[in-house]
Every structure is written in C-alpha cells, then in structure tokens.
Amino acid sequence: MAATSLKRAGWRLKQPSVIPGFGLTLGFTIAYFSLIILVPLIALGLHSAGLGLVGFWAAATDARVLGALRVSFTTALFAAAVNVVFGTLIAWVLVRYRFPGRRIFDAIVDLPFALPTAVAGIALTAIYAPNGIIGQLVAPLGWRIAYTPVGIVIAMIFIGLPFVVRTIQPILEEVSREVEEASATLGANRLQTITRVLLPSLTPAILTGFALAFARGVGEYGSVIFIAGNIPFVSEIAPLLIVIRLEEFNYTGAAVIASVMLLISFALLFAINLIQAWSRRRYGYGA
C-alpha cells in the first residue's frame, strides 16, 4: 500500500491500465525502430561526422554538390507551387461538384502513391521526349521538356500532387456551408467568400500540402532520373549525385550530401508540425 502511494508521487512512464501487453509491444516497437531506422541513420551521421566540421563544410559546399542541391530545391519548389494551385482546385472540384466519373478521378489522385516511381519515370519520359506524344507537340516551337529541368518539374508534379489534394480534401469537407452562407448574408459576393473566408481557412492545409509535396520532390529519385538528362549543374539532382558518389566508392561524399538533405527534410518536417500545432491551437483544427 505504502509502496503504491509512493510510486504515485514519482515519475512514471505510463498511466495505469488493465490492458496487458504494454511492455511487449512498446519494447518491440522501439527495438524494431532502432534496428531498422535509428542505427542506420546514426551510421550515416557518424560517417559524416568523421570528416570534422571543416571537412564536412568543404565537402558540402563542393560546387557540384551545391549545383545538385540547387537543382533539386528549385525544381521541387516549382513543382510544389504548381501542385498547390492545381491540388487545391482538384480538391475543391472533387469535394464540391458532382459529375460523372467523380469517384474514378478521386481514386486516380492516389495513382502516384501506387505506381512505382521507375514506371512513372519511363512513362513520363516516353510522353515528353522529343518523339513522345507531348514532346512532339512542343518540339516545333523549339521547346524541350524531357532531359531539361522542366522535365524534372513535371516528374515532381506527378509524384507530389496527391500530397496536396489529400491534405486539403478532408479539411474542405469539414468546412460547413453555414460559414459560406454567413459570409453571403453579410454582403460578401462569391469571390469575396472564396478569397476571404474559404481560402484563408484552408491555409494551414495548403501550407502543409506544399511542404509535403516539396519534401517529397526534393528526395525523389526514380521518377526523375529518366526524364532529367542528368547534366551536372543543370539537371543533376542531389539524390542522383549520391548514387554517383556511391558508384565512385566515395562513401563519405555520398554521406555528406545525404546528411545535408536529411537536415533539410527534418527541418521541413519540423515546420509541418509547427504549422499544424499552431493551426490547432489558434483555429481549433489541424491540417
């Protein structure tokens, strides 16, 4: 008796519960996570840390590395921007309008999640190559899509789109018609209701979708390398440079690029969590 009351005052990992299996399941979860994710990531960190700060900095600011990072980030930024516009539009249309085939299109939004990236990569290349169905159309204008940064953006649009649509869709479904009606009764026209009431209330979801699509674009490999052209400083993305370094058996060089990318994606992940926490605290809904 005395022991339990003493225990109550002290630090305790978990609240008491009659349900069994806490130790087993949490133990397995942590062990499995450590083995599969944590230890390998630590190996990466140690490998980069072996260089020392100066060495790391020198390797990370190598011109080709910077060039690849620049290509990855700018193309991902463009793609995420396009996806925000069209993803919001698609989410709107899927939630608000009824038209034949809506269910099918709703299902197809998830195609980029399901289609292997290598398959997407060669398919997009086949379409946008100079002899492809769309490549042919723009070739007479002197435009090239495949084997240029534009091609990279297109591949990133493909793989990022569902992140935006699927983040906004549930939030949009929750927006009650009452709020729009309230706006109308106060004299706002439809455009004002959309720009001042609806879109701002979707902002956290749009930002989250943007960050998710952007993060995915930066790390993307399979769908991009076929269409990219892979010319250093122009269309060579950072993940490809990692692969090239590995093929040169330059493990440290690969580890450095990977560490930089990881730091940036963790920062993005952190930003997403901040957006959601902020939105929940202030507005009472997440994204």
Binding site: S176, E178, E181, L186, G187, A188, R282, G284
Partner: protein, 348 residues
C-alpha cells in the same frame, strides 16, 4: 421594416416543405417561428433571408418586392445555430467583415469600421475579447459574437435560426433574457426559429406556430396559449389532456353520460375535448369526468395524477396540490375550468 410573406410555396426535389404560407411580420416586433422539426420553420427563415428561393409566392421587405433579390442585396442579419464564425479571424475581424466586404463606394473608412465593431462588441458585452479567436471562446460568447457580426451591417431584419439550440440550459436562459434586452434597445424587426415553446413564449411578441409546412396559428403568447386554434397547437404549446367525447343536445357526453360541460352550438356527434391539466376543479357532482387514479407523482409544487376514464380506458392527467388528499384516493371526479372542443381528426 415590415416583412410580408405572400403565399409562399417551397418544394425540395418535388417534396413540399412549405404550402402556400402567408405571414405579416410587423416592423420592430420579435416574432418566433415555433414548431417541431420538419415543420418548415427553418425553410421559411431561409426563404426570408434569400438563402433559398421560393418555388412560388412573393416576399416583400416594406413595399419592395424582395423575391428576386439575392441574399447579399437583402441586407439581412442572419445568426446561425452553430454560430458559423470565421475561425481564422479574430472576434474583431469577424464583426467587421460585413463592412469590409462592401464595395469601395459604400464602405466606411477603416477607423469607422473599427469603431463600430468595438461598439457592437461592447453592446454584446465582449469588450476586451476582440483579439481572441472563436476557438478561444465559450459557446455563449460565440453566439454573442455571431449576433454582433449580424448587427454590424445594420440589417433591415434580424433572422436567428435556433440561436440557443447548441447551448446548455443555464446559458440558454441567460442569453434569452439578454437577447430580449438587445432587441428592446435596438428595435430590429427580429424573426427567430425555435422548437422550444418555453423559449418562444418567454421571448417573443408574437408566435407563429407551424406544423407540416403550414402555419397553424399566429398570435401573442397569451392568445396562443389560452385559445389554441387547433388540436395541434393545443398539444404543442403547454401541457394538454385529451378525451374523445360526444356532443349531445346541450351538453357533452362521455360513454352516454353527461360530464357537466355545456355544448355550445347545434352541432352534434363525436368531438375531441382538450383541457390543461392544471386548469381543473374537483367536484362531487355526478355530472363530471370521473375515473380511477392509476398513477400519481410529485412534480415540483404540484401532484400530477393520471386517471383512467370511461369504458375505453382513456387516460388523462390532471394537476392537484401536492398535499391534496384526493391525490391518494382511488376515485376522482373533476371538471375542466376551461376547455376546447375540436372536430374529430378528419381521415388523412
């Protein structure tokens, strides 16, 4: 502003929600649309607002035919049941919204908008909370913001849809009193929808009782309570007991026996007798309603007694003082002090 509803009919996918409803709303009055769910009260409110369009009929604001006007043009203030506040805006921004979205030509300067919004927040007793977000307020506070927001555009008519429906009982009662005060101070023509008769009786100048897409009765709370015009109204407003009776030559008969109540006109045949449980007197007279007590329970300051009357085992309820000895007796005779007779329900 007067609002006149002239023979308005509304169908949703050919399902009739309102049948040729006509109603005159007087300038400055507080009128309640009262009815059970599905009675068409909210539909009528939304038609006045312009959130729906009538299938047939006209709606006049003053002398102007508003039927063709959009919701934006009607200049009404609408308060929604679930407040419908803009969650990403502060309280002040919510209240200012209606003025800020006006076209440049009729939009007051920013300072003026702010002044008016603050004034309204003061009116609804929310001064000091203008920088909060709706999420940070209680339900009652949110509803007051919703009202301030609706008042900010200086509406011709104020429309409230079950304004207290989502609040708990205590807050409801407070806000009810408070809404009456605001109305008396601002004098807006106000229409509010409720299914709560107590709320309607306490708050409204006039009631409009609705059922199944039709208006049953319009009148002051006293008139509606004391002289209900239909069995529905009698049953819906206040408590009622009902007995099937027969109209004899000059008096009412139950199972062929006189119940001691005179029958007015020359009509005869079966009828429905309605009375209020609290509006009865006990009697020793033979010509009375008499029966056996089947249940008795204390309700506040009175005793509610259930009595089985007549050959068909009809049960009615009457109220007695809680310590009245008759409450314990197995047989009671009584007569309603006030009652009404209605025709037997026509076969639907």
């Amino acid at each position: 502003m007067d609002v006149r509803i002239a023979k308005v009919r509304k169908e949703f996918d050919r399902f009739p929600a309102l049948h040729d409803v006509s109603l005159d709303i007087h300038s400055g009055e507080l009128i309640a649309l009262l009815g059970p769910s599905g009675s068409g009260k909210t539909t009528l409110l939304r038609l006045i607002a312009g959130l729906e369009m009538p299938t047939d009929g006209r709606i006049f604001f003053g002398d102007i035919d508003a039927s063709e006007k959009t919701v934006q043009e009607r200049n009404i203030g609408f308060v929604f049941q679930h407040y419908a506040l803009f969650r990403h805006m502060t309280i002040l921004e919510n209240v200012s919204f209606g003025l800020k979205v006006r076209p440049r030509s009729s939009r007051p300067p920013a300072g003026e908008i702010r002044r008016r919004a603050m004034e309204l927040l003061d009116l609804v007793q929310l001064s000091g909370l203008e920088k909060r977000y709706p999420n940070q307020l209680s339900g009652g506070q949110r509803q007051r913001v919703a009202l301030a927001r609706a008042l900010a555009i200086e509406p011709g008519v104020l429309l409230l849809d079950e304004p207290f429906g989502a609040l708990d009982a205590q807050v409801r009662r407070e806000l009810r009193k408070w809404l009456r005060e605001i109305h008396d101070r601002t004098g807006h023509t106000t229409v509010f929808v409720t299914h709560d008769q107590e709320e309607a009786l306490e708050l409204a100048d006039r009631l409009c009782v609705m059922s199944q897409g039709k208006i049953e009765q319009v009148g002051t709370p006293d008139a509606v309570y004391d002289t209900p015009s239909s069995p529905f109204v009698f049953g819906f407003i206040g408590e009622s007991s009902e007995l099937p009776v027969t109209i004899g030559s000059n008096e009412l008969l139950l199972d062929g026996r006189s119940v001691g109540l005179p029958a007015s006109s020359g009509t005869s045949g079966p009828a429905r007798l309605f009375f209020r449980p609290h509006d009865v007197e006990l009697t020793d007279d033979d010509a009375a309603l008499a029966g056996e007590v089947t249940a008795s329970r204390r309700v506040g300051g009175t005793r509610r007694v259930e009595i089985e009357i007549g050959n068909n085992g009809q049960k009615v309820e009457i109220d007695l003082p809680f310590d009245h000895p008759a409450g314990q007796r197995s047989r009671i005779s009584f007569r309603p002090r006030r009652w009404r007779l209605f025709d037997v329900k026509p076969q639907a």
